[in-house]
Amino acid sequence: MAKRIDVSDLNIYYGNFRAVEGVTVSIEPRSVTALIGPSGCGKSTFLRSLNRMHEVLPGARVEGKVVMDGQDLYGADVDPVDVRRQIGMVFQRPNPFPTMSIYDNVAAGLRLNNKKMKKSELDDLVERSLRGANLWNEVKDRLDRPGSGLSGGQQQRLCIARAIAVEPDVLLMDEPCSALDPISTLAIEDLMTELKDKYTIVIVTHNMQQAARVSEQTGFFNLNGVGQPGRLIEFNPTEKIFSNPDERATEDYISGRFG
């Protein structure tokens, strides 16, 4: 549970286009790390490279090293499927499987990992995951209804429940609140604060207040211009980033002077 991730000299490509360049960073376990920056600066791309979801797109590839507790995630003998089982992901738009019930959505990952699980065991894990995502009380009476019938915020918490059901080491969140209203956003942020006791959480967000509220460390990505690769400009404790950043560009961005 909760492993650290060390990234060194990571370049990320879409075909011949270098989208992200030279990222070196250490992500601490049991904490929330936020990634901020203007649109198109490569922070989502970077996030997706951490669990090898990046390479799902044709032509996408990575150079450099991503090491999780000593294990090179891009090693020659590493199956990306195994990496994704250890590193869960929550997406920008809530994406519960529309053809599955709430229960089956949460159980989906469990069934992949462990085909022969007893019904009672599965029931327990589903309940625990839904409680973990603060959703149990709202859905316990309609577990057999489709997940797509829930509100946006509930759907997103369902996706979090689905991701934590398999007990990953790391949880990646790609703008998890950008499609949600403020109340639902608050619910998700509270949830992150609870989850960081057990997981390493990396979140991409456009909402700087959110980064300031939930994260311990913050990384600021930027790019020099259109067609240029994105870079990690600064990586520091969140307090420092928002009060006294090292870089001029960071200060300009968080104070709203550009971007």
Partner: protein, 316 residues
């Protein structure tokens, strides 16, 4: 509007509608009504023309056993050949569609899609010739093997047809004919599976096949059923290929590899019509009415299957 105490009628407000909008909605409505009129016309023709056969005394109907005895084997043959076609074509079409959408390299995928679509452009009489001249003789050794090893199953009891012009051959020809319809629709819906859901599965640590099972197949389910029903419609109504391939004699039998097969409704009409007059024609039309009703029933059933789990379709 504020409420008024006066009992006068409130002024009628017509929504503003542009001329183009009115023309278009009128045109669309006419098109919709037209199809109903055509359908009703065909239905009325079938009913009116088959009435003499329905009310005729059993001796006058061809075969002299009454209308039901005449049509029953035809209905059976129609359903059996179409069922074989559907059972063979659907899994194959789904596999082809999955290969084209998810496994084939892009360079191969598109030409392969065209080639499969091209199967639909071949006239059915060509399929018939191909079936009778090439496929049927090729199948004979296989049928002999079936009889020898699986003969205890009534389906393969034999005796094996020496020409290979059997119900199974007819079903296989039909299967190839309906393959492009089903695979084209399956390909379409599989390709439309939202990236969102595919990525959700992959991010949970699904392999590609598991992703297809979790996200793609359930999402495409209604599309595949729809495609299968379209294919079934074609298989039920297919005339020339069956008329050429199937060696007809005898009545209802589940024996798929012998030379004694019931004909199908459409093939029977095509073969018998030129020689018919009077009540014989009415009888043939009555069998056509039966086909019409079967097709209607099949489509209703398909719609019901698709709607049964509408909540989970992803459309909400």
């Amino acid at each position: 509007m504020t409420t008024t105490s006066a009992p006068t009628e409130p002024p009628v407000q017509r929504p503003v509608r542009r001329i183009g909008d009115r023309v278009f909605s009128g045109g669309a409505r006419i098109a919709g009504i037209l199809i109903l009129i055509v359908l009703a016309g065909v239905g009325a023709f079938l009913v009116v023309e088959s009435l003499p056969a329905i009310t005729a005394s059993p001796e006058d109907v061809p075969g002299e056993g009454g209308l039901a005895a005449y049509i029953a084997p035809l209905i059976f043959g129609t359903l059996l050949s179409a069922l074989i076609a559907l059972l063979v074509a659907t899994p194959l079409a789904v596999a082809i569609a999955l290969f084209i959408t998810f496994y084939a390299p892009r360079r191969i995928a598109q030409p392969l899609g065209y080639v499969v679509d091209l199967l639909a452009a071949i006239p059915s009489i060509v399929y018939g010739f191909w079936g009778i001249a090439w496929l049927a003789p090729q199948m004979v050794p296989f049928y002999e093997w079936l009889e020898e090893n699986l003969g205890f199953i009534p389906l393969f009891a034999g005796p094996v047809s020496t020409t290979g012009r059997t119900m199974l051959t007819a079903g296989l020809v039909l299967a190839i004919m309906i393959l492009p319809i089903i695979s084209a629709l399956a390909r379409e819906v599989f390709g439309q599976t939202p990236a969102l859901h595919r990525e959700a599965a992959l991010a949970l640590g699904a392999t590609r096949w598991e992703m297809i099972r979790m996200a793609v197949l359930p999402y495409g389910r209604s599309g595949v059923i729809g495609g299968a029903m379209l294919g079934l419609g074609r298989a039920l109504g297919e005339t020339m290929a069956i008329a050429l391939v199937l060696s007809v004699s005898g009545g209802i039998t589940f024996n798929l590899i012998s030379s004694g097969n019931p004909s199908t409704i459409a093939a029977n009409i095509a073969l018998e019509f030129p020689e018919s007059s009077g009540l014989d024609v009415n009888t043939l039309i009555a069998s056509g009415l039966a086909l019409f009703l079967i097709t209607l029933l099949v489509n209703t059933l398909a719609r019901w299957i698709v709607n049964r789990r509408a909540d989970f379709s992803g459309a909400n």
